[in-house]
């Protein structure tokens, strides 16, 4: 969602954006923080000439190796954020949203964050699921809805865990023990993090861990321009939380224990390091602050402040940035660095379990998931394995999904349905020919009974019209079946044709009515009546032939 303003504000986009309420509220907080951080360090000028490929080539690494620099953009402003968010229409899980009557879109809980969604796009006969950033672990959000993903024709799978080898539970344990160790030795702990998401779980773990680890006197600081809002908002989305937390709300108690941490003054939050924080600041302490890239935000100050002492520790929990790269400009560092990335999104074992459960006809995923990660090319288990093999896509590639639309839903009006005459062709299969008027409105199709022919009014004008050119739009049904010659001849004789003569041909028979100079060729799947211009006779013969055939 973080790139939304680029789409809604700069591309001429005029459509609607759908999102759940927590996504919008928390997304707003994340963007607000980002904008705030960036705007704190205004740049008078911005250079763009270096983006020219010829110049970029000559620049030192890493600038030289950066890809797609021409697509790099300046950060949006709060005004653009607000304008982007105003285009969002709120939706709830399992809400069916009709798009132009053609497809239905439904968000489902993905279990990763508050309000995070997978989406189903379906017509009446086809179903495409988009699974992105899902988690099967029990953390704070509502569990992932897997059942609704079943019977998908295509499942688009992305947003898997960035560190498939790390176990989030183990990482949380490591996080807690390292934190306790540092603090006990009189050092400070810095946790670069986003203002929402994993931090809720970390605070909850610490809440349980503090007393047993004897940390009750250590202050925890959460510094972010949106710290307060984030903590408050997390408490009001009861309906989007896991069952345990919901039950708490019913009591009624706040669903997250950080409310209690705040009440007992163990956790304090500040909009920035300026102001109140500088008065309250006590060491040793634990600080949660952003930005996890260590390039901007309040975290920079703490890196400068604590980096020189080996007593202090920085613990990386967000998986989005390589911690080595993040630390590079601060080297040499005396401070300890611990890397315990916590990424609760699906790993490859969970993916194969999910696919077995959901059984989509086809899987579509980004190219990198179809082969082991380049750093661990021997790990064949770190890729998506499914049958038929997943179709992969690359950046800016258009992929044709492997299904053909055959049917569309149409409604038959009850009056028309009443007039249909079904006949049983094979056991269990009935047919009825339908002639109706098609009405299409908003991509909904309805069949209405054909208009009754206007009653023949007396008068010359009407009579004249009846002789008029026939309306060939009244379609005749197709015929099927074959004509048994002997029975046909018998029938002919019964109807007064006395001089019937049958000749065999290579493919069938020829029935001759000598007197009328009429010839009827009968073959397995065709009948040809050749006669003089005697309409009466022709119509009689036609009706006799039709008796042997089925109409469609």
């Amino acid at each position: 969602m973080m790139a939304l303003p680029y789409i809604t504000e700069h591309t001429g986009f005029t459509g609607t954006v759908y999102a759940t309420e927590p996504t919008v509220q928390i997304g707003r907080l994340l963007m607000e923080e980002l904008v705030n951080f960036i705007e704190r360090v205004p740049k008078a000028q911005s250079a763009s000439l270096w983006k020219n490929k010829d110049i970029q080539r000559l620049l030192p690494s890493p600038l030289k190796d950066a890809v797609e620099v021409s697509t790099w953009r300046r950060c949006y402003t709060m005004q653009e954020v607000n304008s982007a968010l105003s285009k969002i229409q709120l939706v709830g899980y399992s809400q069916k949203i009709e798009l132009f009557g053609a497809v239905q879109v439904t968000p489902l809980s993905s279990g990763y964050a508050l309000g995070s969604s997978n989406w189903i796009i379906q017509s009446h006969y086809e179903k495409v699921s988009y699974v992105s950033g899902s988690s099967l672990l029990t953390t704070h959000p509502q569990p992932m809805d897997q059942a609704s993903l079943k019977n998908s024709d295509v499942l688009v799978l992305t947003g898997l865990t960035q560190i498939p080898t790390a176990n989030p539970d183990g990482m949380v344990g490591e996080f807690c023990s390292n934190l306790a160790l540092t603090v006990r030795n009189g050092g400070n702990v810095l946790v670069p993090c986003y203002p929402s998401g994993v931090i809720y779980d970390l605070l909850e773990c610490l809440y349980q861990y503090i007393d047993s680890a004897g940390l009750s006197n250590i202050p925890f600081y959460f510094i972010s321009p949106v710290a307060n809002s984030s903590l408050e908002f997390s408490q009001i989305f009861a309906e989007w939380l896991c069952h345990n937390k919901q039950t708490k709300v019913y009591l009624p108690e706040p669903p997250f224990p950080h409310a209690e941490l705040i009440q007992t003054n163990k956790l304090r939050h500040y909009p920035s390091i300026h102001g109140d924080f500088s008065n309250d600041f006590r060491q040793p302490c634990v600080v949660f602050t952003g930005h996890p890239s260590l390039r901007f935000g309040d975290v920079v100050h703490f890196m400068e402040l604590w980096g020189k002492s080996s007593l202090n520790t920085v613990i990386f929990t967000e998986p989005d940035f390589s911690y080595l790269e993040a630390l590079a400009p601060y080297q040499p560092l005396a401070m300890k660095c611990i890397y315990c990335p916590i990424d609760t999104r699906l790993n490859f074992i969970q993916v194969s379990k999910l696919l077995k459960e959901v059984q989509p006809l086809h899987v579509v995923c980004p190219e990198q998931y179809t082969q082991p990660p380049p750093a661990q090319s021997h790990r064949m288990d770190l890729m998506i394995d499914c049958q038929p093999p997943a179709m992969s896509y690359r950046r800016a590639e258009v992929l044709a999904l492997p299904f053909k639309r055959l049917f569309e839903k149409i409604e038959i009006m009850p009056e028309l349905a009443d007039s249909l005459v079904p006949m049983e062709i094979k056991p269990g299969i009935s047919l009825a020919t339908v002639s109706a008027v098609l009405h299409t409105k908003d991509n909904k199709h309805v069949l209405q009974p054909p208009p009754r022919p206007a009653p023949p009014t007396s008068g010359k004008k009407r009579k004249r019209a009846s002789e008029d050119i026939p309306d060939c739009k009244v379609l005749k049904p197709l015929l099927s079946g074959s004509i048994p010659v002997e029975q046909f001849v018998q029938t002919l004789e019964k109807h007064g044709f006395s001089d019937v003569k049958v000749e065999d041909t290579a493919k069938g028979h020829i029935v001759l009515l000598q007197e009328a100079e009429t010839l009827i060729q009968i073959e397995e799947d065709s009948t040809h009546i050749i006669c003089d211009n005697d309409e009466m006779l022709r119509v009689r013969l036609r009706d006799l032939v039709l008796k042997f055939l089925q109409k469609f």
């Binding site: 939706v91 709830g92 899980y93 399992s94 809400q95 069916k96 439904t106 006969y125 307060n228 408050e232 408490q235 009001i236 989305f237 009861a238 309906e239 919901q246 709300v249 019913y250 009624p252 706040p254 669903p255 639309r405 055959l406 049917f407 569309e408 839903k409 149409i410 409604e411 038959i412 009056e415 062709i425 299969i429 009935s430 047919l431 002639s435 109706a436 098609l438 299409t440 050119i469 309306d471 060939c472 739009k473 005749k476 015929l479 099927s480 079946g481 397995e524 799947d525 065709s526 040809h528 009546i529 006669c531 211009n533 309409e535 119509v539 036609r542 032939v545 039709l546 055939l549 469609f552």
Partner: protein, 600 residues
Amino acid sequence: MPEIRVTPLGAGQDVGRSCILVSIGGKNVMLDCGMHMGFNDDRRFPDFSYITRNGRLTDFLDCVIISHFHLDHCGALPYFSEMVGYDGPIYMTHPTQAICPILLEDYRKIAVDKKGEANFFTSQMIKDCMKKVVAVHLHQTVQVDDELEIKAYYAGHVLGAAMFQIKVGSESVVYTGDYNMTPDRHLGAAWIDKCRPNLLITESTYATTIRDSKRCRERDFLKKVHETVERGGKVLIPVFALGRAQELCILLETFWERVNLKAPIYFSTGLTEKANHYYKLFITWTNQKIRKTFVQRNMFEFKHIKAFDRAFADNPGPMVVFATPGMLHAGQSLQIFRKWAGNEKNMVIMPGYCVQGTVGHKILSGQRKLEMEGRQVLEVKMQVEYMSFSAHADAKGIMQLVGQAEPESVLLVHGEAKKMEFLKQKIEQEFRVNCYMPANGETVTLPTSPSIPVGISLGLLKREMAQGLLPSAKKPRLLHGTLIMKDSSFQLVSSEQALKELGLAEHQLRFTCRVHLHDSRKEQETAARVYSHLKSILKDHCVQHLPDGSVTVESILIQAAAHSEDPGTKVLLVSWTYQDEELGSYLTSLLKKGLPQAPS
């Protein structure tokens, strides 16, 4: 003929014990399961034996839906599910699920502990009953089973109140529960999309009232409270713990702050503190303004309003007390009322509707001598004021909702018969739809004519649609196809495809007629004359003269040949298939009449 049947077991031409049975598309749904505040005997609960005399309710009902937590909408739930016996799903919103058991427990306590009733549901029953509840989100489409789906819409009224759409196939019913079409100080307005249900079941508490603006009412209310407090009187405001209480608290809180009043405001304890907490946690269900500002200042944290203790009632000096329940039929509000009724300086403000039979209803209808338990007579000297703060839609609001949803017919419940009659006429006049108002136990049957959904092959549909787009096809076109019914699947395909699918070969029936023409010219010339003749007559058709000398009209082939005996006669062979029968037949008779003389 398919139909929708509706039978109110409660709230039919009445307010209280809302309970409406709906049968739609072969599914049976019970809407609300309330108790009646005006009765203390069997009549307080709906008569569930109506549903089934001797079978299990679970077998008969597909689901139960509770619109909001007021007891007249959910009060009979534990009795229904645990004592009568129902094990199917019960749907309600999250806030309702949270608050409902607390109110039920409260109700149980008053009934059993205070009035000493036996054979009432127990606390355990309330818990067991709540285990059967499935919580729904707003706008979430809940699939009760393969065919039945329900969807909740925001209804305003109280925290967590919802309207429900019940849908089976293309038939649907909307039940409004109680709703409010104007946003108030703490909740938003009800909203529904243009879902065009077959039937809209709406409450009609204020069927005849059109309320003035909210601002005037609020000013009035504050003025009355202020005056009473100024002259040292006590103000009693009987409320239900959730709903109006919070709205009025916000109102008084801001007023006290602005005017800097010192008189204490109390809120009867227990429930209410908890209640405020619910509002804080379910803030997403409140109105826009509160939601926007809650991080800075949570509107449900009151500075001036304190918890009430029973002893405070005898304190001298002015005070304002919010006490439960709202209709003065039991509990603390009634106790305080009895204490203060004798003093004309005091005032009681009834902010909501009172059901017949309650003390609230009696004093509002002007009764000043009340017979209490034990034959005591209580004389009411205090001022009695009524102020409609009830969060029900007024007549205007109801009409507005009907306009929003565009139902095919409307059914009124939860109101008084006389007032309903008036509204019924109004709805029938304005929207030209049928409007019903059944009494309890009376069934309304609505025939419906659902369309039948079938699958149409995309090829056929696209072909037809493309032709429908041609400017020439202004008049409705006929679509021709074959419906294949196999097991329970219905597919509409083109006739050719139907044949292919069933493995049948098409049988071609062809006709060839010989038409004799007197024409001594060459065959080619004859053909050319036929061509120009047909071209001039059949303007709508595609007439072509092919290089091999034959003429086609659509797919009909006309060839000219020399007569074997008579050189002055040419034979026209007209050949067509059965599908072109009309045109072929027409052509032969046309050609038989001969060709016009060539203008040579």
